[in-house]
Point group: C2
Chain length 760, copies 2
């Protein structure tokens, strides 16, 4: 390969160089909030581990493994990792958390108390038993991060074209990854120095270990020869793909390792199920395996770390390498890494000089490929770390641990903090907070239940879900293949909805639709002696609506018609239904949630002013702005003040204990209203009415609004007790999940259960 | 019943009085274009007569009966009648038409040549055979109109409440209809005078008739005792519901009539399958049976006639009646009617005086109930007819027939005119011309195939269809339950559509989506060296789109990105696909139509100027404005003139023979483009690609646009030959049905076939 640095500096290659695909696997031990290894099984809420694509168990039953989907940017992979942590943490039993360190917590004295993961596959269990026997269970309890990395295929193609290589694309690509791997293995001490984060072990980790244990704090036990490594006789060559394959296959044949995957290297070549397959197809990507869990990061690794590793891998392609005729460079890399790994975290590294040379080359690369100023600044920051070992992860850890006396205390405190943070805004899903709440809830359910979710359009809340071989598309969490095209259009049209419900025998407000004023006024007779609502067919924020609860005179009626026709070319006159409006959320043939919406209000305590009561009520973390929360802040604007004035009050009025004052006429949650779950309180009769009405519309998912004067009144043929005023084809789901009062209803999960068989 | 006139004049009753439901049944004989009774069977295109709700056969195989749905206004029932005629006429064999008279055409000498309707039900056939035997086949060949009439139920309830009646509502309602019936039977001579239209019979009608035949032209043979009447011994009382029921049941018991429906009265009480059922439930509506087909009306009756009959029936409720103790008034009514029916059409009627009294009362009623000026004018017009018998229908007929020498000639000419008129704009459906063309086509198919169609929202093109017990809803003819909610949203989102197609292995233009300019510009490298399109994600009339067919410099690319971001917050950059765009219309798993759209153009003839060529091309009845026609008029506005100028031409340029000149760059049909059906020309391969792509989207009905450089080029794995640029969830259907060139494709029928089993 010639002139690699020049090739990488030229357009278009330069701008494609940074494009890549990254995936992260991260393990963590489940522990109690006080730091003992958990004794519970992997939570059953995660469904069947046999095919859960993102939440697994590694060696032990307590070792959760989170696997992000492949992402196209550092930001994206970080978001996936964040969301997985949110899901895992909110699914854990109340007294459990994730251990924030790579090194395990204090392990039980008895080996039997360390449970091998209870997997369905006998082969998988047997393999773990073999590992336990060969390396000891305790060694297997260490956790870490694997970083899967793939260059962009257009980048590789362009690089192949522009280089004067005579190789096939497949061979060229394999050589690119081999070079990166070799350089990585040679320079990985740098990563160990910067990101190593395993200075100490807990009681019980080295129990019975023939190698002994480090006598002092180090940068990374896990990355040293005291860590989770193969026998020294296990050596694999990276000179060529053939050498790599042959040496691994030989190790298996001679029984030095039981399977190919037992080869523990800091870099694995990937792209096939076996090395033979990789040899056949060429290397697809590489897996970097030497990253320790960062205890200072909520999700074990920061977005900056992900970015730095990305640039470091690019650097490994950019850098010239030593002659590869012998495997000496590899042994040299291992030696340097072990040396750095076993240095005291607070000592200056022995490799300072090489580290500085690396950094100079790194920054040269970044200048040449025109990296952003922010990124250059980030890499420059490593220079400081190189001369300030106390600022490296292991350095900081050691300082903190000393301050807190034990590593255990240090880890327990951080673990508890992270666990609590997952519950701060339980209606959100980390990594996806820009999406609509209902979609965040649905994504939470998907992640928990092992339904693969691909975001096809983020702004549009459009997802592709896969489970058990079946693909479903979902928009806004409630628009699915469960409903037909025409039924959504039917619900969009209030007149049609009413006609269909009426024909099916449901109670709807009697009414007529007019396209001329004359016609409307001539029909006055239909509406005398009863409460009516006059409204434009397409209502916009209530403009043009007149309500006559007690009926209207011809004059008032005519005026209302005039007003309505100013807003639309079609006007509806409908019977006014007195009573309380309830939202029935129907999924399938069942009413799954019922919501009562109450106008913005405060309840007195005998001491506080209305302004103070509002302030206190607004402190609820469920309240926020712009629909980013299930409830909205109560405002004290002109409308609220006018409403108070009409009641002879001001914001400074002090309310008596339990005195309730309404601040709004309308009950919308969007203007500070309260949402009250009524699912358990509502008589079965109305739930059935709602479910059957939705069925009559031919719909599967709908929020149908019933006016009910009195839910406890006796229902007779003459008094059906309700009137249906609307069926919604895009009903809000999040307000049911996190109501102001009453039980939350996990509607998104119900939708998933209908979409996919076997979700539970 | 007291003070009926006062009650009817008061609000709210007054304004409800005219509300009513009307349905019309109209028979016509099928004849050849030269006036012979048709010898063909009832067209098989109408499907199974056993359950066709609107197009039936009456007595004979040639006697088409059209039955409108129940309508809420005169306009509506007229529209239904018009649409049924359009459907029947366009379904008839090429050399047939509907005979425009009540009296049949010249009948074959041999009775056997008059075929009894070939019905599936043995009972129905046996009944017709009985009629043939009892009254003679020839008598049964007369046609006419039945007018079903029902007062508004709110009107009847209010009337019941406001009257001091002690009756139940059911009995009250029955008495209302009985009064109307009695008065109608008493005064029906007036209808015979005004609307009688059967002055002459043709050869063969009275053959073998024991009663003989009128010796002179009369107002209405059909409504006289020479017409289609029961034996004189058949007498039914209208004094009360019980009397009515008892007398009919007795007639059946004594064998004077074979079934209840053999009682031929000018008014039948309706509302149940048997008189016993009507007695039980009360009268629901009445059926007026003495209306002759009006030969001057395209559909056998005018909207004005429908309105006059409506008012006349209201008048029958308004008018006091003679004492009903005896049935003398009934016999009097019959006598008067027969007398008027047998008067010479051009003679003054003997009942002038009573007619004038009726009209005075009629106008009094209209003043009292505040009828519109237009309606009052319409009724006043009857006064002129009363003194000018030559202006009555039979008077006008006779005058015309004398001028044309024979009634046959007169009828043939009118029949041909009406038949031709049905083909003037075959893409429209009379009565529904305000609806979208695709919906008109779908309604045509529904009417033809016997699918009941209720318009739930006219402006919204929202229909309820029923067939074989199954209900389906359809909007805009292409939005149905065959597609899912989410698939319509998927097709609405071009990015998602592309991703799904791409993942399924279809060829789509490679591309990327950006939310910042920097990101977009940084990705330039993806797009060098190839044609690209830069566009805002939501394109509005092509604003902000830049096309670089040969690729763009970084400078041009950046500028295009800037421009696109002015229109939207998201910008797409896509590979430009060279080739011709074809619209593939897929229904189910099959490509049913393929359309090539060509920009507005004219072809020279060596003589005409471009302006003249445009004028001639615009004379095509398929061309019009505002999407009311399948093609749009070619304009000669600034854009077209500029395009000509660029070619060195003006509108006055004379083109050589066969020289084609384009007037537009864009191929939209909406700017005068031509639509060319390519369904038969397109290789099967592309049809399958389109059908499978639609399947991959999970869609059933879609218009999918393929770019194909050369439909005849060889397809290889490296050259799939196409790129899919869009899938439409609301694809136009009418342009396929009536293309500029090539065969029309009846897509709406394909949709119906998928919606309902057994439609064909």
């Amino acid at each position: 390969m010639k002139n690699i640095q020049q090739l990488l500096s030229e357009l278009p290659i330069r701008s494609l160089f940074k494009e890549s695909r990254i995936g992260i696997e991260k393990e963590s031990q489940r522990v109690t909030l006080s730091g003992e290894l958990a004794t519970t099984d992997h939570p059953k809420e995660f469904g069947n581990r046999a095919f859960h694509p993102t939440i697994q168990t590694d060696f032990s039953e307590t070792q959760v493994e989170m696997i992000t989907p492949v992402a196209n940017s550092e930001r994206e992979v970080f978001e996936h990792l964040a969301s997985l942590h949110d899901v895992v943490r909110r699914t854990l039993p109340e007294n459990e958390m994730l251990w924030p360190l790579s090194m395990p917590p204090v392990l039980p004295e008895n080996d039997d108390a360390i449970k091998i993961a209870k997997l369905a596959s006998e082969k998988d269990v047997a393999y773990r038993e073999h590992l336990a026997k060969t390396y000891g269970k305790r060694k297997q309890m260490v956790s870490g991060i694997h970083y899967n990395f793939e260059f962009d295929s257009v980048f590789l193609k362009q690089l192949h074209e522009k280089s004067d290589s005579t190789q096939t694309f497949k061979d060229f690509k394999t050589d690119v990854y081999l070079k990166v791997s070799r350089n990585y293995l040679r320079y990985r001490w740098f990563v160990t120095y910067m990101m190593g984060a395993a200075p100490l072990s807990e009681e019980g980790y080295f129990t019975g270990c023939p190698k002994g244990r480090p006598s002092m704090p180090v940068r990374s036990i896990r990355n040293s020869n005291f860590g989770y490594t193969n026998d020294e006789s296990v050596f694999v060559s990276y000179k060529s793909m053939d050498d790599y394959a042959t040496s691994i296959q030989k190790l298996v044949e001679t029984g030095k390792i039981s399977e190919e995957k037992e080869f523990y290297s800091a870099v694995r070549l990937r792209g096939g199920n076996t090395v033979a397959a990789i040899q056949e197809k060429g290397v697809g990507y590489i897996e970097i395996r030497n990253i320790d869990n960062n205890p200072f990061a909520n999700y074990g690794i920061t977005e900056e770390q992900i970015k730095l590793l990305h640039y470091f891998l690019m650097l490994m392609l950019w850098l010239d390498e030593a002659p590869i005729d012998s495997d000496e460079w590899l042994r040299e890399g291992e030696r340097l890494n072990n040396q750095v790994a076993l240095e005291n975290p607070l000592d200056q590294t022995s490799q300072l000089e090489e580290g500085e040379r690396l950094l100079i080359a790194w920054l040269e690369m970044m200048e040449s490929i025109e990296s952003s100023d922010d990124d250059i600044r980030l890499v420059k920051g490593l220079g400081r770390l190189l001369v300030n070992p106390e600022e490296t992860l292991s350095g900081k850890m050691l300082t903190e641990i000393i301050a807190q006396e034990t590593q255990e205390k240090f880890a327990i405190e951080l673990g508890n903090t992270y666990q609590a943070s997952a519950w701060e805004k339980p209606y959100q899903l980390a990594g996806f907070r820009d999406m609509e709440l209902s979609t965040q809830l649905l994504l939470f359910d998907c992640l928990q239940k092992g339904i693969s979710a691909e975001i096809l359009d983020r702004q549009d809340q459009f997802l592709k879900l896969s489970f058990g071989g079946k693909v479903e598309y979902v928009k806004k969490a409630n628009m699915t293949s469960l409903d037909t095209y025409v039924v959504s259009l039917m619900m969009e049209n209030k007149t049609v909805t009413k006609k269909v419900l009426d024909q099916a025998g449901f109670e709807v407000p009697a009414g007529k639709e007019f396209i001329t004023k004359e016609e409307a006024i001539a029909s006055y007779a239909y509406f005398i002696d009863r409460g009516i609502v006059v409204k434009p067919k397409s209502t916009n924020y209530g403009l043009g609506i007149s309500i006559f609860k007690e009926g209207a005179s011809l004059e008032d009626y005519s005026e209302a018609i005039e007003i309505a026709f100013k807003e639309d070319t079609e006007v509806l006159v409908e019977e006014f239904l007195p009573g309380t409006e309830y939202r029935f959320f129907v999924i399938g043939d069942k009413t799954e949630a019922i919501m009562l919406r109450v106008p913005a209000n405060v309840k007195g305590d005998g001491v506080s002013t209305i302004a103070q009561l509002v302030e206190v009520k607004n402190q609820d973390s469920l309240r926020g702005t712009k629909h980013r929360t299930p409830l909205q802040l109560i405002e004290l604007g002109p409308i609220e003040k006018l409403m108070l004035k009409e009641q002879g009050l001001t914001v400074e009025s002090v309310l008596e204990k339990d005195q309730v004052v309404y601040l709004r006429e309308n009950s919308n949650v969007s203007t500070g209203g309260d949402s009250i779950d009524m699912t358990d309180e509502m008589p079965e009769y109305y739930k059935e009415v709602a479910a059957k009405a939705v069925q009559a519309l031919g719909a599967t998912i709908s929020g149908i609004d019933l006016i009910i004067p009195d839910i406890d009144a006796e229902v007779t043929p003459d008094n059906p007790g309700y009137g249906i005023i609307e069926a919604n084809f895009n009903p809000a789901m999040h307000m049911h999940a996190f109501p102001f009062a009453g039980k939350g209803r996990r509607l998104t999960l119900k939708v998933l259960e209908l979409l996919f068989e076997g979700v539970s």
